[in-house]
């Protein structure tokens, strides 16, 4: 029943060797990137955050089939929860292991808040309501500086605490066994651990009874109801779980950046995350990861290559790199959807939808 083909995770020594190799690569990666520039470690960290967000949105969109265009709001809720409870803004400095669960729970409540009034909506109608929800949250963040200053408005919140465990801070450089690990490198490992945990939770969810119920409501809500599935609760659960993952990612984002403002939680970001899910392969956990990694890195790689390529070809910069970067990015998306409409690595069910209808014989 599972959409994500996890059979390759079982047995076969060659496969295990591959997994071990990949694990080793992931462990060494930040140090290799740091030799090019710490900026690339930061880019990687943001990419992992987007993988977390995509996996969260995949629960709502991919598993349960509920189109959500306001997903970034939960990221914002998590980020602001962290920022308000661990910065000089309110003078509160709670430890991260208390705030992250609070942020996740708050995002979960917001998820239910969005889910409850939209239970009877589907497709385009749901998309419009969720879009509005995302905007409402952003506008609140922007304007809750008066009459009581809660969010500090468009100026955002700065000097946010990094993650600390006792005297161990994730922001400072640290030398261990002759290797110097910068702040971003330490966050990288933390993110990697969180990512692995989230992936495992996602795989388990998909293979669970809840996962099967999500498949059923995605495929046909009336039939799902006839199967004895409590469609209301199962849909709310999808919203709540997706939102919680977004909230956790938001908390980590706030800690890494040290500064957040409503500008980080705009509609374009929601669309970006949705693109990652769709491009990678809706409903397939590994496809979604691939989509998020690609869409996070490609614009960054273009940022650094567009200018040199132009200088070599034409001797000067003809088109502003910022402009051409997004142009190429858009073109890549269009081509993708033209030639691989089900995504790069689609789930079994999605593949079926786009496969030519055959095997239909006489009645």
């Amino acid at each position: 029943m599972s959409d994500t083909d996890t059979s390759f995770l079982k047995s076969r020594p060659a496969v295990w060797a591959g997994v071990a190799l990949m694990a080793a690569a992931l462990v060494v990666l930040p140090f290799a990137l740091a030799t090019v520039g710490t900026a690339w470690v930061r880019v990687t960290n943001l990419a992992i955050l987007f993988v977390l967000l995509s996996l969260g949105l995949n629960i709502v969109v991919g598993f349960a089939g509920l189109l959500d265009l306001g997903y970034i709001a939960f990221y914002g809720v998590g980020a602001y929860a962290y920022a308000l409870l661990a910065s000089p803004h309110f003078g509160l400095h709670l430890p991260f292991w208390i705030i992250l669960p609070i942020g996740a729970m708050l995002a979960c409540v917001f998820g239910i808040l969005l889910g409850a009034p939209t239970l009877k909506l589907r497709g385009d109608y749901l998309a419009i309501v969720t879009l509005g929800f995302g905007e409402i949250v952003r506008i609140f963040l922007n304007n809750l500086s008066q009459p009581v200053n809660i969010t500090n408005g468009p100026q955002g919140i700065s000097l946010i605490d990094p993650f600390r465990l006792g005297s161990f801070s994730f922001r400072d450089n640290q030398t261990f066994l002759g290797l110097t690990a910068s702040g971003p490198i330490k966050y990288y490992y933390l993110l990697l651990v969180v990512l692995i945990a989230v992936v495992i939770v996602n795989i388990r969810l998909q293979d669970s009874r809840i996962g099967r119920a999500w498949v059923a409501i995605r495929e046909d809500e009336v039939a799902a109801q006839a199967m004895g599935i409590n469609t209301r609760n199962v849909k709310l659960l999808a919203f709540a779980m997706g939102a919680s993952f977004g909230g956790i990612a938001g908390g980590i984002f706030a800690a890494i950046q040290g500064f957040i403002s409503p500008e980080s939680f705009v509609l374009v970001q929601s669309i970006m995350i949705l693109s990652m899910v769709v491009l990678g392969g809706m409903g397939n956990i590994f496809g979604v990861i691939l989509g998020a990694v690609l869409l996070s890195f490609v614009p960054e790689i273009l940022r650094y290559t567009v200018q040199p390529v132009q200088t070599t070809l034409f001797g000067r910069v003809l088109i502003d790199p910022e402009v051409i970067r997004m142009l190429l990015f858009g073109l890549a998306l269009v081509l993708m959807m033209r030639y691989r409409p089900a995504g790069l690595w689609p789930s079994k069910t999605r593949r079926r939808e786009f496969a030519p209808r055959n095997g239909r014989e006489g009645r």
Binding site: R212, A216, E219, A223, A226, I229, T349, R357
Partner: protein
């Protein structure tokens, strides 16, 4: 005592009364047909009985318990299964995955796999196509799948909505044979049909519904003989 007993059931859609206070009884093991023209309120009645819509009034008693307005996910655990109108199979899932969904509420894997064998025995066609995607099945095969899927919840009462809809005559014949054999296995069936002749030939008793009200009630054979039924529904 009847397994299902309905008293003055009313269902409204935004002020329009689709079902206007009907009485209906189904005894354990019976096959009861509810016939009537398009828009008479038959499907709405089934939807209310299966918890898909909330009745506006009246009382539904099942196994002696008041189940009026109970949600479908509770009713199915009580043994009431609905085969929805237009079949409603999960088009992108395989035959086997569809049948597994039918057993969603059950927690006894050995019993479920025994029932799966039973369904495949009843529908050899489905067994041949167990790995095929349901959307690529023919209409008749999809209807078989919908019935088989309902069987997977091991129902005591099966509510069948228009099983003959849109099917070739030969296939309709076959579906009705299956319905009768399910009935013979002891499952109580309430069958809603526009095809009055077939429904009454298969059923023990029948109800005739017209504009939201029950106008006739009798043994199926008696209804088949009745001049009003013959004129209105059998075209004779």
């Amino acid at each position: 005592m009847s397994l299902l007993s309905v008293r003055s059931l009313r269902v409204t859609y935004g002020g329009i009364e689709a079902v206007r206070g009907i009485d209906l009884d189904v005894a354990e093991g019976e096959l009861v047909a509810l016939i009537g023209a398009n828009g008479a309120g038959k499907t709405t009645t089934l939807k209310a009985l299966s918890g898909m819509v909330r009745p506006a009034g009246g009382r539904v008693t099942y196994k002696g318990i008041d189940v009026t307005g109970m949600a479908s996910h509770h009713l199915i655990r009580q043994g009431i299964a609905l085969v929805p109108e237009g079949r409603g199979v999960f088009a992108r899932l395989t035959v086997e995955e569809n049948l597994a969904m039918g057993a969603y509420t059950r927690n006894d894997p050995p019993g479920v796999s025994a029932d799966l064998d039973r369904v495949f025995e009843l529908f050899p066609r489905l067994s041949e196509r167990r790995a095929q995607v349901a959307g690529t099945l023919s209409g008749g095969e999809q209807q078989m799948l919908a019935i088989g899927r309902a069987m997977m919840s091991r129902p005591r009462l099966m509510l069948l909505d228009e099983p003959s809809m849109g099917l070739a005559p030969l296939m309709v014949q076959k579906i009705f044979e299956v319905i009768q054999s399910i009935s013979a296995q002891g499952v109580t069936i309430l069958l809603v049909e526009q095809n009055a002749l077939l429904a009454l030939e298969a059923a023990n008793r029948g109800y005739v519904m017209e504009s939201g009200a029950i106008t006739m009630e009798d043994a199926a054979s008696a209804l088949l003989e009745s001049p009003q039924v013959r004129e209105a529904y059998l075209g004779q």
